[in-house]
């Protein structure tokens, strides 16, 4: 159907006529499709006899949405897309002019992030800022960090890892257990968690990295589940599904965030509030994210980083150039795991509680979705995708007003996976390489030119 529209010359009259025709057709199709699913609802009464209600109103809404949607699609969206495509083909050169904004956008973003907590506090007060700093700030930044960590494995080295959350779990439990059993502080355990996660990355990587493509994906998925099952069943140490609670908080150079006389609030003569700790955590995760980004950017320009990307492009060619692909993959795996471990120990310090529930496969899937949506390999794109995906979830939680439309039982965040699925399909159609599809070369001779996404590969291993 789409093609017929694109082929006709778009005179306004014929377009609208065509659109009405297609809208009617779509409406009829929708009616046929949903007549039984939506049009009727079956139930049972006390004596278990079925009752059938008709739901003509709801059916009408579905049909109307489909028909109007098709109409808008044909009249507005398709011509727009077509025009955009043509404009893109014509104006490759104009790209240069946008570079000032592009060049400085990262600095703007960083400044905005640094000033985010004070601005929010001044707008909403300490108590009101909690939600924004915690749910919208820290939560998103954790995912940014996780996705940047996974990006090393998936985006750069092209190794499809479906069990990344395992390393997040290793980091979180390392902090939770070592701090509650041995009383070690956050600052000691942060690097230890990262190292332990990297170590597990190696342990997993060694046998697994001989596999490629789908096989690798399945085994990493299994590894993620194994870690979770161990956490559930090793009850003596991990307390199983109950999880580890009252994990000590992180401290600021030894100053605890509590109500004690040498706590943060008392020390600076401030009124008690839990917001200080959140704001502190916000800056902490921001710094961790920046370290991740910095290391990733530096590594990309090192021989290992280049070897990772070469591995993604063609493993056999790598071997023909004398590159030891096993150690190269292992480094990617363990460095990615290390960042997962850092994020995990931060997560434990923030929640004060960890349980296996936080490390289900869904988390791996969301992190991977962020990497793919953002554009594999691109830090900026991934950050944007993390904001969209995680921020989107939080926004859905906020949409209380939807209850007026759909009744008090309606919980919008239950629909987030549906919406994400939809959003992903749309993004992948419009931007198959993710938000930022091009890659920046790691070295140049005369002029730095971005490499279009159509040349890069996703990797097979």
């Amino acid at each position: 159907m789409a093609n017929t529209v694109l082929d006709t010359p778009a005179t306004e009259g014929s377009l609208v006529g065509k659109a009405i025709k297609e809208a009617l057709f779509t409406g009829v199709m929708t009616l046929g499709l949903f007549l039984l699913y939506i049009g009727f609802r079956t139930d049972q009464d006390i004596s278990n006899t079925p009752i059938v209600y008709g739901r003509p109103g709801l059916l009408a809404i579905f049909v109307a949405i489909a028909a109007v949607g098709r109409f808008l699609m044909v009249v507005f969206v398709q011509p727009l897309l077509k025009a955009r495509k043509e404009a893109k083909a014509a104006a490759v050169v104009q790209d240069r002019e946008a570079t000032f904004f592009k060049k400085h956008i990262l600095k703007f973003a960083l400044v905005a992030l640094i000033f985010y907590p004070p601005v929010i506090v001044s707008l909403y007060g300490f108590q009101g800022s909690l939600k924004f700093v915690d749910n919208f700030g820290i939560q998103i930044l954790i995912y940014v960090m996780l996705a940047w960590g996974l990006n090393i494995v998936v985006g750069l080295a092209g190794l499809l890892d479906l069990g990344y959350v395992a390393f997040y779990a290793v980091g979180a439990y390392s902090y939770a257990l070592l701090s509650s059993y041995y009383g070690l502080s956050f600052w000691v355990l942060l690097p230890i968690s990262g190292i332990l996660a990297a170590f597990w990355g190696m342990i997993l990587g060694f046998p697994v990295l001989r596999l490629r493509g789908d096989y690798l994906a399945i085994v990493t998925l299994a590894f993620g589940e194994i870690i979770r099952l161990v956490l559930i069943n090793w009850t003596d140490v991990t307390k199983g599904t109950f999880g580890v609670s009252s994990i000590p908080k992180a401290t600021l150079f030894g100053i605890p965030f509590d109500a004690s006389p040498n706590g943060f609030a008392k020390m600076f003569g401030l009124p008690m509030s839990s917001a200080y700790y959140k704001i502190f955590l916000f800056y902490l995760i921001l710094v961790l994210c920046l370290i991740t980004a910095y290391v990733t950017i530096r590594l990309r320009r090192m021989p290992v980083g280049r070897a990772w990307e070469a591995l993604r492009e063609d493993e056999i060619a790598c071997r023909s150039l004398g590159i030891n692909t096993v150690t190269t993959k292992l480094t990617a795996f363990s460095i990615g795991a290390m960042f997962g471990g850092f994020a995990g120990s931060f997560f434990a310090a923030r929640q004060g509680f960890v349980s296996p529930e936080s490390f289900v496969f869904m988390e791996s899937a969301v992190i991977l979705a962020i990497v793919v949506l953002g554009g594999m390999g691109s830090l900026t794109g991934i950050a944007v995708a993390a904001i969209v995906m995680t921020g989107g979830t939080e926004l859905l939680r906020e949409m209380e007003f939807l209850k007026h439309f759909f009744g008090p039982d309606f919980t919008p965040e239950l629909y987030r996976m549906l919406l994400f699925g939809l959003a992903m399909v749309v993004v992948m159609i419009l931007k198959p390489r993710g938000f930022v599809g091009s890659r920046e070369p790691s070295a140049f001779l005369r002029e730095k030119k971005a490499v279009s996404g159509s040349f890069t590969k996703e990797g097979h291993g």
Binding site: V295, P303, I316, C318, L321, T325, S442
Partner: protein, 293 residues
């Protein structure tokens, strides 16, 4: 595997000697008891009809296949001997200094032309960057080596006539340019033996001529070449020594002149029946006093 030069079978000018090499895929003998040598400082061509097993020989030499039987000995300039059939592929390039290109080009298409050549210098740069650690800390040694690596890449780009494409993605190059880039990339690993699998395939006559010049200059600078080629004009023009394969066996071995006039080779290329070959051979032998075959 490094050994001392002591074996009487090989002379110092043999850079590669293949002895009784066999490769079996299931029921198919892709190579059957093949022995030949490639001499240092020469271009040795490996020719034969489609499916003769030429690429399989390359894959055995460069470690991508483990031969069913036989020995492949690489003698480096400094006297080190490597038994290639026992080494993993990446060590063959790294330590035995044998580099290769592929029949179906294998570039890193999403990396730029320059990056392709930098990846080829991985091992040297890895060492210079202290296995990444010193490099991350901004060590001056690494900076110097990285600069040298770019200079070396630029040198090979110039030789391959790709200098003005240095910052373009490799996948964006024309077919002929991709072939040249693959050769330049292999040369960046500092090989002593360069194995090229049909480098002239798909090139136009002008590009083919430029390739001949490039290959000759590589040879003259001390890198020996082993070359698979179908284009007889290239083979006859530049090779010093030709080995002819058919059905995994050597049917002729000698100078281009010799091979060109070998009735077995003519028969193999023209598709004459076996008994007719024997006839043809005996005819030729009776003519020039049995110095054929």
């Amino acid at each position: 595997m490094i050994m001392k030069v002591s074996d009487s079978m090989t002379s110092p000018e043999d850079i590669l000697s293949v002895e009784h090499l066999s490769m079996r895929f299931g029921g198919l003998m892709a190579i059957n008891d093949l022995s030949f040598t490639a001499r240092r400082g020469e271009i040795t061509a490996l020719i034969g009809p489609n499916g003769a097993g030429k690429t399989t020989v390359f894959n055995c030499i460069t470690g991508f296949y483990k031969p069913t039987m036989g020995m492949i000995r690489m003698t480096r300039q400094n006297g080190e001997e490597h038994l290639l059939e026992r080494l993993p592929d990446f060590i063959i390039t790294r330590d035995a200094k044998v580099a290769r290109t592929f029949q179906n080009i294998r570039l890193f298409s999403g990396l730029t032309v320059l990056e392709n050549l930098l990846v080829a210098q991985h091992n040297k740069l890895m060492r210079a960057s202290g296995y990444t650690l010193l490099g991350l800390l901004g060590s001056p040694i690494y900076k110097r080596e990285a600069k040298k690596a770019i200079e070396k890449a630029a040198h090979w780009l110039e030789r391959a006539d790709l200098l003005d494409r240095a910052d373009d993605p490799a996948g964006d190059l024309s077919y002929g340019a991709q072939r040249r880039l693959e050769i330049a990339r292999a040369m960046c690993t500092d090989p002593e033996l360069l194995c090229l699998d049909e480098p002239a395939a798909g090139l136009n006559p002008k590009e083919s001529l430029a390739l001949n010049t490039l290959l000759r200059s590589i040879r003259d600078e001390g890198t020996s070449l082993l070359l698979i080629e179908h284009d007889m004009s290239v083979v006859m023009e530049i090779s010093d020594h030709v080995v002819v394969l058919e059905y995994g066996q050597k049917i002729s071995d000698g100078t281009p002149e010799h091979v060109k006039n070998d009735p077995k080779v003519i028969a193999a290329y023209l598709g004459v029946d076996d008994d007719e070959v024997d006839e043809a051979i005996s005819e030729v032998e009776s003519l020039d006093g049995g110095q054929g075959a």
